[in-house]
Each structure stands twice: as structure tokens, then as C-alpha cells.
Amino acid sequence: MIPNKFAVRFALGSMALLTLGPTVVTAQATHVNSVNPNLGAPSVESEQSHIDGVTGHAYNGKKLYRRFCIGCHGPDGNGEGENAQWIDPKPRDFTEATFKCRSTPTGTLPTDEDLYNAITRGFVTTNMPQWRPLSPQQRADLVAFVKTWSPRWAKEKPGTPLTIPSETPITIDSILRGRAMFQKLECWKCHGPEGHGDGPSAATLTDDKSNPIRPYNFSTGTRFMCGETNQDLYRIFMTGLDGSPMPSFADVVKPDEAWDLVHFLRTLQPLKTQEASLWQSYVSAHGKDIKPIGPDSAAGAQ
């Protein structure tokens, strides 16, 4: 009886060792990426990124990630680093592979270059700083490593980047057409009638993790989250900011109309731009006749 019991215990013990052993060993060997819930994600050993002739390697990116990114984005890449509790908006969860700043259509993966630009640029009005002090090679390595957090990077290809045609001339007519679109597309419902980020729906907005999120306030005059040029602004509303309430307008806005909207949006910023001076002279000439943007407004009809 006794040897029998012993035998059973021994067998169970060795089985447990056999099953648990390798898990423990891998967990110790990797530190970062130890509990990857997303099986089938690209491997750290082989994943690469390609940006303008620079090839990034995930195994190098991993070391950089542990030094520079882990505090906020966390050891598991899910945006739950030790600093995350103090941060708003929250750090990106790489395991979802949903990214705001893309050149690709809504619902598709961004290009390597999009991620590279995001790391380089940082995000204004958030805790994500610019990473220009890192060399292009290091930033490319980080891009490759970011792609090892989700199996989507193994299964899917990035979407086809949006083609942005050359900018149409900046005229008061273009600005007025853009203003009509701001009314018609209901941009003001969130961004406010004057672009102050205080529209009727602004207070209700949440991101895809149900955290409150603010629409962009144009009167701050800061750079946009995804860049600062007119092309960047064009790209932001055409591709949408995935994971946020900002939708894509690519299916419903034609390129010419998109440039009109860009020209109008520039007048909402307290910047000395060509658009702003055109708009100011129009306002001083026709101030009384301009219908304010908002509900029951005829701004759509100019």
C-alpha cells in the first residue's frame, strides 16, 4: 500500500515538473513579454520593421523598450505600467493593435512608418514625449518590438496608405465650403461651434476602454495629435483616430472637400496663417451676415 502511494505521488510530481518546468524556464528567460496572452504574435527574435532603408530588429527594440517604455506601457505591453495610474489619456495598449495615428484606413494596421512617426513626434497634450534623442535605428527597433505584442501583426498586412492629392488653393470660397462641411458633418457636435472642444456631445465621449476623452480644442493652437502640417490634418479626419470617438470620413468626403475642411479648420486656430487672415477680412466685411454654426443653423447653405 505504502510503496503504491509513493509511486503515485512520484508520478504526479514528475508530471507537474514536466508541465510546469518549461513554463517557468521561459518566463525567467524573457522577463518582458513573459505572459503573452496573444499567442501567434510575431516572435521577438525575427520581427523586423522597415523605415526608409533602416531595418529595425525587435530583439534590439526589446532592450530599448525595457529602458524607455516599460514604465508606462508596462511589462506586458498592455498599457498598464506602474506610471499608468497617474496618466490621462492612458498609455497605448499594444496587445489590441489599435492605433490612432495612421495613414491607413480605419480598422486596419498602421504602416511601420506611421509607428515610427508616432514615436518620433510623441503626442501633444499627453504624457508621450518626443523620442528624437533616440537614433533612427533605435526608433526603428522599437517599432519592430511593438509589433510583437499582437498576433494581428503576424496575420494581417497594414492597410493601403491614404493618397493625399496636392493641396487646392487657399481661397475664401474654399474656407466657406469647409465651414459648411463642419456644420453638415456635425463636427461641431463634439468639437464645438467655434472649435473649442465644447460641443453638446463632448462631455459624453469615451475611448474604447471607456475612459473619458476630450475632443481636440482648436483654440489651444497646439500641434495636432498626429502632426502639424495641413497634410497631417487632412489625414487625421480622413483615416479617423481608431480607438477614439473620432470617425473616418474617407468614404463620405471627396479630396477637394477635404482640403476645404482643412482650410476652414485652420481659421479656428489662433495662428497667423493665410487662412486666418482671409477669414478675418471676410468677417470684418460680412460679419453681420455670417450664420453661427450650431443647431438650426443655415451655415450649411452659407
Partner: protein, 239 residues
């Protein structure tokens, strides 16, 4: 040693043959009917103030409320999706396109069951812009604007998932795409009743899903073309 391989090979062949035989079962004539009810106190649905969107407000003669828990006479529960979650072999492919409407700043139907790869068309019937924002986790989340008069958004889902959908412009708008591995499903009406038709004989697991109270399952065996009854009771809580 060789004998072992033969036995293994024979088993593989037999299983393969069985799979071929069962892959295309004839459409059965069995059915499962029943009623979905609740016990306890369901939450009061909140009235929706659409006064800021007059084009929508005027489409509703009676005040509109939220639709998380819609109840009917006799403690019945509406908008419960009842479907075959196990026991089905070779589900038939999705047939026609599923239609989802934004009408009067509400989603119609509130819950839309459909199958993976089934064509899905989303219409905006309103005089205001909506943005359709399905908060998918298993599938890919996307978010598109749809001003009045734009063509329907033509899309599909790849994997089974319960996907909440919302409009960020009109925060009260809330609905569900329920992507199911099966073509055998039914959504309860206001009287809580459902009917799943066309089932071949077999052992099935039937699941009822309510957006706030989750799922309930039960096993049902159908022999021949009989009609079985399966009732579901959810425990309602006021919060």
C-alpha cells in the same frame, strides 16, 4: 509495430469518412421554441432626451428609452438572442445581406444576429450625421462617419463575437451586432418568445444571451422532426 500503424490509419480513414457524411446534413424539420422571462426587479429604462436633435425627436410620438433590458407582459424579456451554441454540424452558410438601420437616432433592430462573412449593410435613414463605431475586441474595431444621404456602409465580420455598437455623436445610441457560428438563431420579441426552426435530429446546446445579464444554456435533444420547448429564466437586478 506495423499492425499499430494499420489500426491508426484505419481510424483516421473512418473518422474522415464520418466527417464527409456529416458535413452536409439535410435541413431538418425539428424545432425549439420557448419563452425568455426574468425573476427579480429589472432596472427602469431611462428616458432619452433627443431635444438637441429635433430631426430625430419628431420621429417619435412616445418618449424613447434606453434598451439594455426591455421587458414585456408576463415578465418577458425582449432582445434576447437564442442560438445553437454546440451540437451543430456543418452550419449552413449565411444567405442574404443583414440590414442595420439608424432611424430616429436609434438602432433598428437593437440587436442584430448575423453570421461570420455575412454581408452587412448599415443605413442612415436620418437627416443628421451619425458615426458607426462597433467596439469589437475579437474582430477589428472601426469607426466611420455617415452623413445623411450617404450610401449604406457595406461590411462584414470575420469571427464570432458580441459586438457593442455606438454613435459618439448621439451618445444614447447603443446596439449590438451578434456574430454567431450558427445560422440557427432567434431573437425574442416583446412577449419573450422565440423559435429556432429547421433543426436536424441531434443533441444540441441552446444558449440565450441578454446584453446585460449574459448567457444561460441548456441541452436539448431532438429526435425526428419533433418540436421541443426550452424556456430560459434570467435573474434581473435593478442595476
Amino acid at each position: 509495430m506495423r499492425l499499430k500503424y494499420f489500426v491508426a490509419l484505419a481510424i483516421v480513414i473512418m473518422v474522415g469518412a464520418a466527417m464527409v457524411v456529416f458535413a452536409q446534413p439535410p435541413a431538418g424539420s425539428g424545432s425549439i421554441t420557448g419563452k425568455v422571462t426574468y425573476t427579480g426587479t429589472p432596472p427602469k429604462m431611462k428616458p432619452i432626451d433627443m431635444s438637441k436633435e429635433p430631426s430625430c425627436a419628431k420621429q417619435h410620438a412616445t418618449p424613447v428609452t434606453t434598451e439594455n433590458v426591455v421587458t414585456g407582459p408576463g415578465n418577458s424579456l425582449e432582445w434576447v438572442v437564442v442560438f445553437i451554441s454546440a451540437g451543430e454540424q456543418g452550419a449552413g452558410g449565411p444567405s442574404q445581406a443583414a440590414r442595420y438601420d439608424q432611424k430616429g437616432c436609434q438602432y433598428t433592430p437593437h440587436v442584430l444576429p448575423l453570421e461570420p462573412e455575412q454581408q452587412l449593410q448599415i443605413y442612415n435613414d436620418d437627416q443628421t450625421s451619425h458615426n458607426i463605431h462597433p467596439l469589437a475586441k475579437v474582430n477589428q474595431e472601426w469607426n466611420k462617419s455617415q452623413p445623411p444621404g450617404s450610401p449604406p456602409i457595406d461590411t462584414k465580420w470575420e469571427k464570432p463575437e458580441f459586438i457593442p455598437v455606438k454613435c459618439n455623436i448621439h451618445p444614447w445610441m447603443h446596439g449590438y451586432f451578434v456574430v454567431l457560428k450558427t445560422g440557427h438563431y432567434s431573437v425574442t420579441g416583446n412577449d419573450g418568445s422565440f423559435e429556432i426552426k429547421g433543426l436536424p435530429a441531434g443533441k444540441y446546446t441552446v444558449t440565450a444571451w441578454q446584453e446585460q445579464y449574459g448567457t444561460k444554456t441548456q441541452d436539448v435533444t431532438i429526435s425526428g422532426s419533433e418540436s421541443k420547448t426550452a424556456n430560459f429564466v434570467f435573474t434581473a437586478t435593478p442595476y
